[in-house]
Symmetry: C2
Subunit: 279 residues, 2 copies
Amino acid sequence: MIVSIVGVGLMGGSIAIDLKELGFSNQVIGVDLSQDNLDKAIRRKIIDKALPLKEAIQQSSLIILATPVNVLSQLIPEVLDLVEDQIVFDLGSSKVEILNTVTGHSRRGNMVSLHPMAGTEFSGPEAAIPRLYQDKVCVVVDQENSSSQALDLAKKMLNCLKMKPVFYNAEEHDLHVAYVSHISHISSFSLALTVLAKEENEKRIFDLASGGFSSTVRLAKSNPNMWVPIFEQNRDNVLDVLEEHIISLGKFRTLLLEKDFKGLEKLINQSNEIKRILG
Amino acid sequence: MIVSIVGVGLMGGSIAIDLKELGFSNQVIGVDLSQDNLDKAIRRKIIDKALPLKEAIQQSSLIILATPVNVLSQLIPEVLDLVEDQIVFDLGSSKVEILNTVTGHSRRGNMVSLHPMAGTEFSGPEAAIPRLYQDKVCVVVDQENSSSQALDLAKKMLNCLKMKPVFYNAEEHDLHVAYVSHISHISSFSLALTVLAKEENEKRIFDLASGGFSSTVRLAKSNPNMWVPIFEQNRDNVLDVLEEHIISLGKFRTLLLEKDFKGLEKLINQSNEIKRILG
């Protein structure tokens, strides 16, 4: 199967590698606004060739859209206007706004909206790695709006990538990813800023980073070109959970101010509950 | 060399394993208030035998204190009262308060105060692992209060564990670990509480945890018996950096409320600066 990947970065590049190596696709065409990204992807043999969007769509059976979500809002209707019987997957991290752009579109059934819960803090085709998706969850969003043929292909691809599908509608998706994924990024960005603000001596940060800091702050290396559009499109849900996070940090502050160490112990015991869920 | 480890948990147990395996010690004696911990440590061959504190000190050349810091405040003066020419290391995560208990003690020179910047979110002898300390930084605190003989032994042990020593005084230590390590734990505890509060459906957390959540929240599994005494002893510094963290999250909130996405991009770019330090 000939597959086009639009947006040859971390996500698109990694899926391209796997689809070729795992035998799902015999040819991968790359589409990207950045000629530099395309050159890198060809040099690393992530894609077989680069084409403009329209030609890529004409030559492919499957088109995977892996751009930032602000681009997806423009791109999804444009691509659905161009497809005939091709199947389209998007990999957006927020869904309500991008899917609203094609409500009632005559080709909406050709598309399956996917959110693979996988990634790293790096970006660009140089960050693409094999098996990024293996053993991870992939959210399949608004599946009832996809044709059974398109859904079957999505399930076949997820199976090939060894991903576990779960099924949410778009509103549920955006709510829960804000609560679980997006807030982790805000928290990490904020923690990095905090430590950079307090620590004038960068060597001290480097010395002490293995005391838990480097894992909590890993996500703070993430690219704003990906994340600002996500926060923009999922603003209300993100604000909601961010306010809860500020309240929760405020509880720790109050207990410390009042030297209520029994209360602090109780609060930490509550947060330890996360073990029960994450193991 | 016969070494006693007081507190046979994650830190003490892991150091016991390495000191034996790397040939630094031919016999490790375990001391612990919990008979259950001692039984586990003997069963896993982490220690060779268990003794009460006084006998353990009499039979050892080196005593390593690896208990929570509230216990260290009691234990350090008690141990220094009992030693003759034995060397003592403590591994406490906060230093000013525990070291104040032995200012001017006639055996203060026998002791070196160490803080290995290593650990996991687990605890107890069952969490002890080989090479926990390898390639990590160890802070050597108030080195001028230790005899050259005691310091030499500390450096020899750090060398054996393949740790990199850095030298801070107690006030610097407590300030910088609050800024870099302790705040990461508060942030992680708070993030876990936030998500537990917002997510009624635990399965959703489990589904979506690989989207960055599990790494930022890893530290939220940490044991309150270790951490509450640290926050108690280092309260002022922790409060200081916690207030900065709340202010920083507030900036993200304001920008989202005002839909200032250019400002948000600028803030994320600032937090990306952490890459320059952590690589």
